[in-house]
Amino acid sequence: MSAKFPLHLLSFLFVFAACEKDKPTPVVDQRAYSVSTSGNIITVRNLPGDTIVGTTAQGQPIGAGRYSFFSLETGQWIPNADSNSARWDLAFAGTILRVNNATSGPGGGGAFVYNGTFESLTSVPTDSTFRVDNHPISYAITRGSGKAWYTYDGPTNLLTPIPGRTLVIRTANGQRAKVEILNYYRGGTTPSASSADSIKTRDQRFFHFRYSKM
């Protein structure tokens, strides 16, 4: 504790000083969709994936069934009108992730889950197999708590991406990319277990992920 204190103080002063200098810089909206690039890693924030629009008769929150299509090659959110094209590589709707192949799209996409950190995956292992979607029964990136990229806890109603799970994607045009899902909630922070269900419902299905081409 005592060792940490001066550090905190220092960072506080630093932030203060930084704020003073960079006054004109517009404040980044932490809750808005954004794409940023650092080196060869592209980070996408707050990409909505079929966000909640209402509740079922049983009181379960539901979305409108609207996918968000994303192109890993161009780093762009693709309009839904282009869903039946090879312009997108990864589509998001709640816990469903789809790749552009077979029953999901006209492209040559595929995916598998690699157990290990994003950095540790430098090339696609030669013995790996890309899986394809069999929409709506099964997906290349398996749905379900603990199966591919997330865990879900019923009592707290929270979804958490599993650390150390990297998605290896074959794009619609056959290129390779690695993707790490970082967070599932608007703003990039998972709500606390004790926060109200209304907040957990409102803020869920906002994807934060980083990727790079391989």
Binding site: T117, G146, G154, P155, T156, P161, I162, L182, K200, T201
Partner: protein, 703 residues
């Protein structure tokens, strides 16, 4: 309110020093649990904690939970009742006995400590470390043995207690509708009819509930009425034999009002719970010669738990739950002293029966019969060395047999120092739930849990009619469950530099294997999961516990303790050491988890400390202060990696201060007052049975 405070102040301000504290006989106190024979505490080779009735009374304890929460090395857990965690092991691994016979009626392995009244209990003996070599199943972490009062002289004791609390406001107004109130009535009498000596204890506890959770109708603690009756009968048969009968009955009536959340939905339940418990224990002790004792013990216990719940959101459905357990036991024990050796051999047979709505049908009675034998050889080599070797064999009808040996030695080179070492095996037999549970939760996704005895048959049948989509590899590993086993080691030293100072240190390590855990074994075609029980986990717990007692002058007693605890799942730990477990950096990206980020098993505090101060100038005049501390404990995995680490959600550590005092009013009348949780610590999420500051006033009458 003002009256109440005034009385309290009075208790503390009018103390005068005169008589002497009589609680420092620790060395000569007799314990029975460690060796199944009466032994001086100073001659026992395993860690034993002794709680005398005086301490129970002065602490103002009503239920077993109240007094155990103030003991070094024990943690109170909540969920399916209040349980106790010893040496870092779960509540299901501590055996709870009354006069040496086990209490039954556990829910999910937890025996609710609030069910057990401590009125009529003479002393509580806590033996730490595996004790299955003497007591069989469940004695993995240790044994808590409640020794009932012996019938003897004519006596009459009565007490009336009123307690009040208000978690929202901190200080409570007595008799106010917003307060949480408690009333306890206790009557104990000893008398003699002809050659029969009798002792009775009756306890009645009323407690109204209180809601201190925001936006919730939960009342925790719940409105409860508890009634406990205890009768002990004793009669000498000639000069060489004695007959004793213990009868205990307990009845609880609990009003239930609670909310369950799942998938963002809330279901409010209301209803009632009723528990009945009965214990009957006849014992015949014969001493044909000075060196031989023969104990014949019978035991019958019955527990019935009955729950009925209705749901506000689903008015047309209800939940009915009934669980009945009966245990019959007969046991023969021979104690034989020969020279420097004490030999114990024993044989027993028991039938454990249960039926429940949680199994396939309430009408189908499940049974496990166990025949067992145990032996112990205590050998005093010389004045310095004692060796105790013991073993037990349990032959189970329903699953594999268990053999549990133990060896302990004590070395006492001089009056100041003594050293103990022991190593032993502990086991816990699979319980009825793990063998026979037949539960389908239609509300939360339709998952099912089947006990292993039925799982294979049910899943094969479902598969035959085409209802199974996938059989997991775990399905092929479903076989007969075997008991959970542990190996425990304890290494301790005691130091007594003078008659008034006593310091004790004990290190322990428990290695637990074939722990039973719930695993998914199959998936139905509609995607719902089927679970069953498998012997799959391995874990360890280790730690160091220290205690001290120091008598200052004649009327002051200072004591304290500290425990350091480390636990872990062995498979998780192996993966962490290989760099196969991951966590997240502050920027949200994944990285390999460091070894020092692992916190081990959840719900364990690394540090626990306590400090107690007694000032007792006379028998009925005292002040007793207890400060209890436990450090933070991890409650849930919140970063998705499946292991418990420093990033996960944890409950905050806290200090609890309990204070009580006594004051004689007249010759036979004593007034006792107390404050529990003086600092008003509350944790709505993780300490649901801990309702803030509570004040009480007790009037004790003793003839």
């Amino acid at each position: 309110m003002r009256h109440f405070l005034f009385l309290f102040v009075l208790v503390f301000s009018t103390v005068a020093s005169s008589a002497q504290l009589d609680s420092l006989r620790s060395m000569d106190e007799v314990v029975i649990t460690a060796t199944r024979q009466e032994r001086r505490l100073g001659n026992v080779a395993v860690p034993v904690t002794l709680i005398q009735r005086q301490q129970i009374q002065q602490a103002g304890s009503l239920r077993l939970r109240d007094i155990l929460q103030e003991q070094s090395g024990l943690f109170i857990t909540s969920g399916f009742g209040v349980g106790v965690q010893m040496q870092g092991l779960n509540p299901e691994h501590t055996l709870i006995l009354v006069d040496g016979q086990p209490l039954v009626g556990r829910t999910s392995g937890i025996l609710d400590l609030n069910r057990i009244a401590v009125a009529g209990i003479k002393r509580i003996e806590i033996v730490k470390g595996p004790s299955s070599s003497l007591y069989g199943s469940e004695a993995m972490a240790g044994v808590i043995n409640l020794i009932t009062e012996n019938p003897g002289t004519r006596s009459l004791e009565a007490s009336l207690r009123y307690g009040v609390g208000n978690p929202d406001q901190g200080w409570a107004l007595p008799f106010a509708s917003t307060s949480f109130q408690q009333l306890d009535l206790n009557l104990q009498a000893g008398y003699q009819i002809g050659k029969w000596k009798l002792r009775q204890s009756n306890d009645l506890l009323f407690s109204d509930g209180i809601s201190f959770r925001p936006f919730s109708t939960d009342r925790v603690p719940r409105p409860i009425r508890r009634l406990t009756h205890q009768t002990t009968l004793q009669r000498a048969l000639g000069s060489k034999a004695e007959f004793r009968l213990l009868f205990r009955a307990n009845q609880d009536r609990i009003q239930q009002e609670f909310s369950v959340r799942n998938n963002g939905q809330v279901i409010d339940s209301y209803g009632r719970e009723q528990n009945h418990e009965l214990n009957l224990q006849p014992t015949l002790t014969i001493r044909p010669t000075e060196h031989i004792r023969l104990h014949t013990r019978g035991y019958f216990t019955r527990y019935v738990g009955d729950q009925q719940l209705n749901f506000i959101q689903k008015p047309d459905s209800s939940y009915l739950d009934r669980f009945e357990q009966d245990l019959y036991r007969i046991e023969q024990q021979l104690d034989w002293t020969r020279g420097a050796s004490d030999l114990i051999v024993g044989l027993g047979y028991q039938s454990d029966q249960a039926r429940s709505t949680r199994y396939d049908a309430l009408s189908s009675r499940k049974q496990n019969r166990v025949a067992y034998a145990f032996a112990q050889w205590e050998w005093r080599l010389n004045a310095q060395w004692i060796s105790i070797a013991g073993m037990r064999y349990d032959d189970n009808q329903q699953f594999a047999a268990a053999f549990t040996p133990k060896w302990a030695i004590r070395f006492k080179p001089n009056d100041q120092w003594s050293f103990n070492a022991s190593v032993g095996q502990g086991f816990k037999a699979p319980d009825f739930r793990q063998l026979y549970l037949n539960f389908t939760n239609n509300a939360a996704g339709g998952y099912s849990v089947y006990g292993t005895q039925d799982a294979i048959r049910i899943i094969r049948e479902l598969n035959r009619i085409g209802q199974i989509a996938e059989l997991k590899p775990e399905f092929d590993r479903l076989t007969e469950l075997s008991p959970e086993f542990s190996t425990g080691m304890n290494l301790g030293a005691e130091y007594r530099p003078s008659r008034t100072v006593h310091i004790r240190i004990n290190g322990f390590r428990n290695d637990i294997r074939s722990l039973i855990d719930v695993r998914q074994v199959a998936t139905r075609i509609d995607g719902s999961q089927i679970f069953s029980y498998l012997n799959v986990k391995r874990a360890f717990t280790q730690g160091v516990e220290t205690e001290f007692r120091w008598q200052l002058k004649t009327s002051w007693l200072l004591s304290g303790g500290y425990q350091w605890l480390r636990t872990g799942d062995k498979d998780e730990w192996a993966r962490i050491k290989k760099g196969l477990e991951y966590t997240r950096s502050s920027d949200g990206t994944s990285r390999v988890m460091n070894k020092n980020e692992y916190v081990g098993l959840p719900n364990r505090s690394k540090h626990q400390a306590q400090f107690k101060l007694t000032y007792q100038p006379s028998e009925t005049r005292f002040i007793f202060l207890r400060c209890l501390y436990r450090s933070r404990w991890t409650v849930a995995n919140s970063n998705g990696n499946g292991v418990h680490d420093v990033q996960d959600e944890s409950a905050n550590g806290f200090v609890q201060i309990n204070l009580s005092g006594g004051l004689p009013l007249r010759k036979n009348l004593q007034l006792q007052a107390g404050i529990e949780n003086l600092l008003n610590h509350q944790d709505i999420s993780y300490l649901p049975n801990f309702p803030g500051r509570n004040l009480y006033l007790t009037l004790n009458f003793k003839l």
